[in-house]
């Protein structure tokens, strides 16, 4: 065998090893985090950590439940805002939009998706927080003094502000996924419905959305998991003071990623603190990986069915 084939063979082996590296990376991350988190798991039971909101690191109490529910609370708000917005825009882009307009909107969406999370945070502080403080909070909290509107937080830094910023952040991502799913549906499907005299909205509603439903669900899951892990923007607008379990959309909230980012300086000074933070990262990893696996599983399945 000559040198060319040796090179080819060597390259092949190396490439294979790199692929194996990718396959093992997830396990490495999980193991690394678990390894670092294990001291805190050894010190107390995992139930106590997961289901208690008693967070007093200096006294060795690391209940993460408040942060976990905080994450869900903010993410839930974001999804409530982002899903209808994304779905409507995606339908418009896939079914109604003239090609030339689409060629303008798509790049805009890409730009939107590329903006730094920190810049979203700046925008949140400058625009969304005042909006919540000066308009939304006085309006709702005054008129509907009950769950989930009642609050005595007049700063504007709140779960709602976090949710709104997150919604703007994940919308472009969800739109492009949903649109891709809808455009993947063969044109003949639309044609046969339209040929039966259905209006284009009926076609969209009864045929396209039905066929695209699993893909749309996957897109929502992916958007959701992205929102769960988003750190800096939320850290900047959500207030990040722990108040136990969420009671109002206008209260401050302290999601898991913000906790991790916020404690980078101090965590080495208190025993077990760093382990608790690594545990928080591990929890975040598990949640997002499970969501992603489910969603990509759905999307890959759809793709394979089409081909």
């Amino acid at each position: 065998m000559d040198i060319r084939h040796w090179k080819d063979l060597l390259a092949r082996r190396l490439m294979f090893l790199l692929c194996v590296f990718v396959l093992s990376l997830l396990f490495c991350i999980a193991w690394g985090l678990y390894h670092k988190a294990s001291p805190v798991l050894a010190a107390g039971s995992w139930q106590a950590i997961l289901f208690s909101s008693d967070w007093h690191p200096s006294q060795g109490r690391f209940g993460l439940a408040g942060f976990i529910t905080g994450t869900l609370w903010v993410t839930g708000l974001a999804v409530v805002v982002a899903v209808p917005l994304s779905l409507l825009t995606a339908i418009f882009l896939a079914e109604y939009c003239p090609v030339r307009l689409r060629d303008v909107i798509k790049p805009v969406m890409e730009l939107l998706a590329g903006i730094s999370p920190v810049v979203y945070g700046v925008w949140g502080v400058l625009v969304v927080v005042p909006l919540v403080r000066d308009h939304l909070m006085p309006f709702f909290s005054g008129r509907f003094p009950f769950f989930p509107f009642a609050s005595d937080n007049y700063t504007g830094f709140s779960a709602l502000a976090g949710g709104l910023v997150l919604a703007v952040m994940v919308t472009p991502f969800m739109i492009s996924l949903m649109e891709e799913v809808m455009r993947g549906i063969p044109f003949g499907v639309r044609e046969s419905s339209l040929a039966l005299g259905a209006t284009s909205w009926q076609t969209t509603k009864k045929v396209i959305l039905k066929k695209a439903a699993p893909g749309i669900v996957a897109a929502v899951i992916l958007g959701l998991s992205r929102a769960i892990g988003e750190t800096m923007a939320v850290l900047m607008v959500a207030g990040c003071a722990l108040q136990g379990f969420p009671r109002s959309i206008f209260d401050t909230t302290y999601p898991l990623p913000a906790l991790i980012a916020n404690t980078y300086g101090e965590m080495m000074s208190v025993p077990l603190y760093d382990a608790a933070i690594m545990l928080a990262a591990l929890i975040l990893l598990i949640i997002t990986v499970v969501f992603n696996m489910a969603a990509w599983g759905i999307l890959l399945h759809l793709e394979r069915r089409e081909t």
Binding site: K7, D8, V22, V119, T171
Partner: protein
Amino acid sequence: MDKRKVEEYIFKVLMLGAVLIVIGSLVFILATILVKGLPTLSWEMITKTPQGGYYMGKGGGILNALLGSLLLGIGATILAAAVALPIVFYLNLYLRRRSRFALAVRFFLDVLWGIPSVVYGAFGFTLMIFFGLQASLLAGMITVALLVLPIMARGMDEVLKMVTFELQEASLALGATRLETAGKVIFRQAFPGILTAVLMAFGRGMSDAAAVLFTAGFTDSLPYSLFKPVATLPLAVFFQLGTPFPEVQSRGYAAALILTAIVFSLSILARLITRGMNKHVIK
């Protein structure tokens, strides 16, 4: 009017509203950053490092963060590309189209893509401790490289999928090995797309803060060693905004403007490349 027509009309209005909100929010964000950042933006900001008391309103600039971010972004992008390129060539040239192994690799890349950057940051931190490093340019590069690897690889993968099978066949038929085909033919054909994926990953790497918070640290001096902490632009924005002084905050807005301008330029550059650099590319 027909009831179904009314329904269609309502939904059309809703759709247009949604589109306007989405596009409007981009315009809104840009306008806000421009209006708030532009007045404070000065030559000094991008040519000087922070002087003593910078975070209390004294003079200086954020050259440290600007250079740090560029260095860190470039390093991370090169590292990630060195892993991503071989992988996507392996997936598309060496493996068959329906290979289970290729499916698994793509699936894992997708899942890795979904892992939050703060988790990469935490993992980078554990790596750092494992290798006995302190927060440094190198640690930040490695962490960000891991973060952008899946984005870059999947971007390149989509580009290589588009390259026709026949082109590969034409080169193999002349007696070239797969490696030669990959390097001399497929790479050239896909080059604009590959470069786009690299630029997008670079933008993403530069604009992320959560991953470098633990691993790159922050410093007021210019980056001078791989093993010393380095300042980054997103963190510079974050820290300046965190101070109670309005003039420092507004410099944070200006820094945010610089960051956004860089990311946008990259995105536009990527677009121009896909249009302009296809001299030899076969359509």
